[in-house]
């Protein structure tokens, strides 16, 4: 038979225990492959979360950056959340997406910070925060989005909140949507988005007609 059998792990290069200093050095100045390997274990080392944050700020390789974000998501502490947050403001869409995905992966540890982002002075951050809030459990997310919708001056942020509410909202969201529609009566696209959201919620509340 042409298929061969080899002892498992015969081609393994072996996995030495990580040496903290060597990992952090590789993270700072290694080749792409060395930084990738270091990124996969650095966040769990003493002082590693801060070092990963510094590495993220200078890292150009998308795959190493991905591993850095995963390391922070794996640690999932308030400190690792704080390290990720500034990257939501990056000009690079890949970095923003990486930060957003890492926060989503950190789940409840990141929720207080995500809720605070809804009040961020930067419009783009508030828009991103709406999609992050959408991934929280509905009973947590809906009041946050409704509060935002009642006071938010930017129509694009409202539109992002409306999109999220359309998916997770129930009858309790209808009055909030109606008030927003009234406030933005002169903004046709938002008026239309709200109408679609309200129709969708009403259809779910009443169920399909016979």
């Amino acid at each position: 038979m042409p298929l061969i059998r080899k002892p498992a792990g015969a081609s393994s290069a072996g996995v030495p225990a990580p040496n903290s200093a060597a990992v952090l050095l590789a993270l700072a100045s290694g080749t792409d492959d060395e930084r990738w390997a270091a990124a996969r274990s650095a966040a769990e080392l003493p002082g590693g979360v801060a070092a990963v944050g510094e590495a993220l700020a200078r890292e150009k390789s998308p795959r190493v950056r991905e591993a850095l974000f995963t390391g922070l998501a794996r640690v999932a502490t308030p400190q690792s959340v704080e390290v990720v947050l500034p990257f939501l403001r990056s000009d690079d869409a890949l970095v923003r997406t990486g930060a957003s995905d890492a926060l989503t992966a950190m789940r409840s540890v990141a929720w207080p910070a995500i809720a605070a982002l809804l009040r961020d002075p930067d419009t783009d951050v508030r828009i991103l925060a709406c999609s992050l809030v959408h991934d929280m459990p509905g009973e947590t997310a809906l009041p946050l989005l409704c509060d935002l919708l009642d006071s938010e001056p930017e129509p694009n942020v409202c539109a992002a909140a409306v999109d999220a509410i359309a998916e997770i909202g129930g009858a309790e969201a209808l009055p909030v949507l109606a008030r927003c529609k009234e406030r933005f009566a002169a903004t046709p696209f938002l008026e239309f988005a709200i109408k679609v959201a309200m129709d969708r919620i009403r259809s779910q509340v009443t169920g399909p007609r016979a």
């Binding site: 038979m1 042409p2 298929l3 061969i4 059998r5 080899k6 002892p7 498992a8 792990g9 015969a10 081609s11 393994s12 290069a13 072996g14 996995v15 996969r40 274990s41 998308p62 795959r63 991905e66 591993a67 995963t70 998501a73 794996r74 999932a76 890949l94 995905d101 989503t104 992966a105 950190m106 789940r107």
Partner: protein
């Protein structure tokens, strides 16, 4: 079976956290019945007098209880030639691309993870013997790995019930199996010895690295059990386990694009798979 113990919210949370740390599998409150049923099975097996008694044994891994506990939570429902279109893609496209990157007669490594009770890696072996014209010209190593050590032991034994063979033609059953009782069939020794089986958890970086790099990985219907973080870790482990240009096949409901940007999508006539970008 006696009444299920009703775990308190705190007990259930501690148990699920323990399971998550060990396996990456996430069980929410909606899965309480499934979880409690397996806990009571293990409590009966070790004669634990209460949940606290059982959890204490689990935490100190008394008599290898962690392994038995994890085994109780794995799903080993599969059969030969499942998702046959991916096997067709393997022989018609993936290996053709991989051999271009190798010297003639070189080695091709294929990993089935998780392999459950062995149906998938044996299917790969049979499929290649039957359908890949170059099968005699390359050294093909097939490795099957699973977190469930009981499943790995069954895979090594290579004995299967009729249901597992339902997609195989009588010709293939006759060629690669021998009757082993009235309702079971055993893989022929030549084929059984051509697949290596190991215990491994795909979120364990040390364990996965020890398996080296592969040309093709079949990782089907497991990532759906993980949360976002474990999926990302698994994706990065699998990335390391692929040679540059190597391919990974997921289950038909799974998408690597939603998990990690590390891989390129590769579309073929028979299947959509994912590729570690070539150097």
């Amino acid at each position: 079976m006696p009444e299920f113990p009703t775990l308190s919210e705190d007990e259930y949370r501690r148990l699920c956290e323990f399971l998550y740390r060990r396996t990456g599998m996430v069980f929410t409150e909606a899965k309480r019945y499934y979880v409690e049923r397996r806990v009571v099975e293990r409590m009966l097996a070790v004669k634990a007098t209460s949940f606290e008694d059982y959890f204490a044994r689990l935490r100190v891994d008394l008599r290898g209880e962690i392994e038995q506990f994890v085994n109780a939570f794995t799903v080993n429902e599969t059969y030969f030639y499942r998702e046959e279109h991916q096997l067709a893609c393997l022989s018609s496209d993936l290996l053709a691309a991989r051999v271009k990157a190798k010297a003639h007669g070189g080695q091709i490594r294929i990993w089935s993870v998780p392999c459950s009770t062995g149906e998938e890696p044996y299917s790969i072996a049979i499929w290649l013997l039957e359908n890949w014209p170059l099968v005699d010209q390359y050294d093909i190593e097939i490795v099957g790995s699973d977190i469930d050590t009981d499943a790995v032991a069954l895979a090594r034994a290579g004995v299967f019930a009729k249901r597992a063979l339902m997609r195989l033609s009588p010709y293939l059953v006759d060629k690669y199996f021998v009757a082993d009782g009235s309702e079971t069939w055993k893989i022929i020794d030549d084929l059984r010895q051509s697949v290596t089986f190991t215990a491994a958890n795909i979120i364990d970086q040390v364990a996965t690295r020890a398996h080296g790099q592969f040309d093709v990985i079949f990782c089907r219907n497991v990532l759906i059990y993980f949360d976002d973080t474990s999926r990302r870790v698994a994706a990065e482990n699998l990335y390391e386990n692929l040679l540059p240009g190597g391919y990974i096949c997921l289950g038909h409901t799974e998408s690597m694009s939603r998990i990690s940007p590390l891989f390129d999508v590769a579309r073929f006539a028979d299947a959509i798979v994912y590729q570690r970008p070539p150097v």
